[in-house]
Symmetry: none
Subunit: 208 residues, 4 copies
């Protein structure tokens, strides 16, 4: 690593000859975390690879040892985010009896709201600030599928009625998104409050 300091118009470069060798997972993790923090703080475009390696405490070459391009970190971050997100929600849902569909839906809602509140900053940056061409459909699709299944199961079991599962899933998911964004932007409400409001609206919508 190297520190740069200015002395009379000239950047003096101070080499510190530490070269630590760590397991690959740790390196990758450090790099991704550093990137995430910086992306959140400054935005993706304003964050340079230099910033990332500096914060991660590794040399620049190391970055390119683990990632092929800067975009790769974003993709990796997105994947990690999606995985964590769905896992977390799936776990919450799974903790309910398989046949208590209303409880499962409630668990989905609470889990989703909580996960989103906890991570919306990274979510925003990683999903909105970067264009992968396909309008980010891929990742959203997974979440919608998860919710769709839940809704379909409930409908099949007579827990609620709905004629178009996908449409309902979309409205529920994006509606929930909007509510959380609104809460974040305005006076902070807790997850419970948001869930109550959404439950009422969605409950009627599903004819629960």
């Amino acid at each position: 690593m190297a520190t740069r300091e200015k002395t009379g118009g000239l950047i003096r470069i101070r080499r510190s000859r530490t070269r630590r060798i760590l397991p690959a997972e740790v390196r990758v993790g450090d790099l991704m975390s550093a990137a995430a923090e910086l992306f959140i703080a400054k935005g993706i475009e304003a964050t340079t690879v230099n910033d990332i390696v500096e914060r991660a405490g590794v040399g620049k070459g190391t970055f390119y040892h683990y990632f092929e391009t800067k975009e790769d970190v974003i993709v990796a971050l997105r994947e990690r985010f999606s995985r964590d997100f769905t896992d977390q929600v799936a776990q919450a849902v799974a903790s309910c009896p398989a046949d208590d569909h209303r409880a499962r839906f409630a668990a989905w809602l609470r889990g989703t709201v909580q996960a989103y509140i906890a991570n919306y900053k990274l979510h925003d940056v990683v999903f909105h600030e970067f264009r992968p061409g396909n309008r980010n459909v891929k990742d959203k699709e997974i979440v919608l599928a998860q919710l769709g299944e839940l809704l379909a199961a409930g409908a099949a079991a007579g827990a609620w009625k709905l004629s178009d599962t996908r449409a309902a899933a979309i409205v529920i998911f994006d509606g929930m998104h909007g509510m959380v964004d609104d809460a974040i932007a305005g006076e902070p409400r807790d997850a419970e409050q948001i869930c109550r409001r959404l439950s009422e609206l969605f409950g009627r919508m599903l004819l629960i």
Copy 2:
């Protein structure tokens, strides 16, 4: 100061590509349109100011005569978009009798869906690809207010029931957004079809 240095004794004649003077509005309009087209086609970052002026058929200085930075076009574009959007929807709603709230809501929904379908490309680029810090809250707020009023009026007149106008407005607006995005990404559905699906869901939600 850039003194006109004789480049090796060779005087470079500049073909004066007949400089045309146009009203400011036209110039600004041309520039904004050129920018919009390019932003949609290549993304904001990939579009250079050079691209824009070339497409608009003006010199680069002209761009900076009307805009202070590249970002400024985006802001201007966003404002124009929001203005046009709300105007269009407001007009559709206004064409319904003031006391026919269901018709007014239907008009709002159809108007919004149509306007969004017609312009989602610019919308995406201008609202998602660029970070103005305040999470774009301002512009969305205007739209939400418009819808909120409509909903409140209907509720007051007994056309429907709802306990939290803002929550409903958010879910409706973002739900509609999601549906249109989905339609755009997948097999294209026409506006009518989307409206029907949404009407059903929102109708139940509002206890119409």
Copy 3:
């Protein structure tokens, strides 16, 4: 004239259709004064022609009506400065009896110090920040000639002794310059004090 104000990312240009017609001298004078003030405040390079015309309250074309290039103002400013400077000093000297050489030298010294103190800012900017190739020799030469004559006359009349008029003139002029600069940079001394110190040194140097 035109004012520019920002409204939503777009520079709105407000035309004020006043077109005043003034005598050429006034125009040129306004322009030169505006330029001088700005050069002093921001430096020559940082001052744009736009700045100048804005402060002078005229259109940009007007500038190029009276000056061929931006450099021309500097040259004009320098000429005006030199003329004023020598005139002022000459006048002070002329107020002494033609045969009282010591008084004439004292008058020259006091006049020069005063003139320089009063205008050093413009002097600095106009004589040091701009390279006319010949190391500004021309203008200094006039001043040196003026002083040289005075010294030679005094020597011829036996008021003092000196073997090399030009060398003495240079040392006296640049020495005086240095003293005034020093006074300006440090705690402010009045002209009298500076003159006393210089008189002592120069008096000995000339074997007065």
Copy 4:
């Protein structure tokens, strides 16, 4: 992010002009020397960073690896100049017996004149063409201090008389400057001749 866009299916091979890695000092030295030569030849403003790196034989990025801005080279150059200048003169003075004050003064004068004659071009460019705000006082102060000490020591030892050390130092230094400038601008005189003339004047001034 500047994604490596395929330019119409054509992959641009970059001839890797064998990138050589050199010690930082060498690189910085090359860059500074190149800059100095160009500044002297064309003036600071007319010299572009491109010019500098081209002459130094490095990539443009290398420049910004070592300097933060173009101005930084000027500052660095100025510091190097001042350091070298004072060192050189100090060395000349130190070669005289500590108690032979007249010899020391003579050595100072000759050393200063020689050093200035040898480097006046860079001096001019770097000290006059660039405004660091504080009127370059800092660097001159060092030189004046050096001379002031010498003068004070001589006065204390009775080698000469002077009532105001600083005033004398200023007049001597700036007088010497003026003489050398004059010699440079007119017919070239050698250092010895200049020193002789100055010695006579200064000798009388100090009542040696």
